[in-house]
């Protein structure tokens, strides 16, 4: 599809196109698009409340598991992180679909931010998982474990997203190619998850399934931790989007005033 078919107001939200789009268009996009910073404060407050509550529940409410003892407390951080990471990648793919359907750049920006944040949380998942593996299995990493290796493959796959994206200079092509990548990689995530679950030989415990029924106190703590990590993810995404939009607004204003 030719870039000429894009309506001007839809070119407004991408920080990479702001150097090429006209300032009036960019400002129009800011006015008609989304108010930057909207929802950031309630999200931040919710996160600041939820995270300490989750920590209190993890360390003072949840019972200690018999086999691993206190080490099992990492479960309440590592598993929600992994779930939120994979959901972030899938959401990035869904937002990319919306971008390709609507040609609206704001969806591309949201997809980019979801994947960017997913990558950060994914690194956190790998590190916390590694620490847990060292304490529990005596090894930092087990290459024969499909869950670990598949998660690493997903992270490495998404690690190529940013170099691919910023290797393309033309903003229209950049957004389109990044969206296609996000959709294909996003589809790979659930497939990968299913493939790992279907494998028979594994050491890594299954969290979502009939064999891992948690006692009510543990299940409640896990759910609160999942909500807290999800809120943290949403808050950081909102923070990143707000910062990007503010930078774009500043650039657009300075060009409108003829300073750059």
């Amino acid at each position: 599809m030719s870039s000429r078919t894009f309506p001007p107001e839809r070119r407004s939200e991408n920080p990479e196109i702001s150097s090429q789009g006209s300032p009036k268009r960019e400002l129009r996009g800011f006015r008609t698009g989304t108010e930057y910073g909207r929802g950031l404060r309630p999200l931040s407050i919710a996160t600041l409340v939820a995270v300490p509550i989750a920590l209190v529940l993890v360390f003072f409410y949840a019972p200690i598991e018999a086999e691993e003892g206190f080490l099992q407390k990492i479960f309440y951080l590592h598993v929600p992180l992994a779930i939120v990471t994979l959901c972030g990648f899938v959401i990035g793919g869904l937002l990319a679909i919306v971008h390709l359907r609507t040609r609206d750049r704001k969806w591309d920006l949201r997809s980019y931010v979801a994947i960017h944040m997913g990558l950060i949380f994914g690194v956190g998942t790998l590190i916390t998982g590694s620490i847990w593996a060292r304490g529990s299995w005596g090894h930092w990493w087990v290459w024969s474990e499909p869950t670990l290796v598949s998660f690493l493959i997903v992270i490495l796959l998404y690690a190529t997203y940013q170099p691919l994206r910023f290797a393309i200079e033309d903003p229209e092509r950049q957004a389109r190619y990044a969206s296609v990548f996000a959709i294909v990689a996003g589809a790979f995530v659930p497939m990968n998850f299913l493939a790992v679950r279907l494998s028979t030989a594994y050491l890594h415990p299954r969290v979502l399934g009939s064999s891992s029924n948690l006692p009510p106190k543990m299940a409640f703590t896990f759910l609160v931790s999942l909500v807290a990590i999800s809120l943290l993810f949403a808050t950081l995404c909102s923070y990143e989007l707000t910062a990007k939009r503010t930078r774009m607004l500043l650039k657009a204003r300075s060009r409108t005033l003829g300073f750059r």
Binding site: A66, G69, K73, G124, I127, T246, L250, S254, F259
Partner: protein, 78 residues
């Protein structure tokens, strides 16, 4: 059902738990610090922009007050 401990087990693995939580919150902290630095840069840019806009406004006001050369010449001719 996940088995629960009847008594508090030996705490030989406490360091790993602390390390996992500290590492994660350190990652978040580093990210927030980077964002704060970027925000500082944006604020500086905004201050510069405001200052330049104000300076330009003053220049334009002066320009409007002082008559141009052509206007002066017209007055001389009259």
């Amino acid at each position: 059902m996940t088995p629960l401990a009847t008594s508090i087990p030996g705490s030989s693995n406490n360091g790993y738990v602390a390390a996992a939580y500290i590492v994660f919150f350190a990652i978040v902290l580093v990210y927030v610090a980077i964002m704060a630095l970027r925000l500082t840069r944006v604020e500086r840019g905004l201050r510069e922009l405001n200052a330049r806009a104000a300076a330009r406004g003053q220049d334009e006001a002066k320009h409007d007050e002082t008559p141009s050369h052509s206007q002066t010449r017209e007055r001389e001719v009259v």
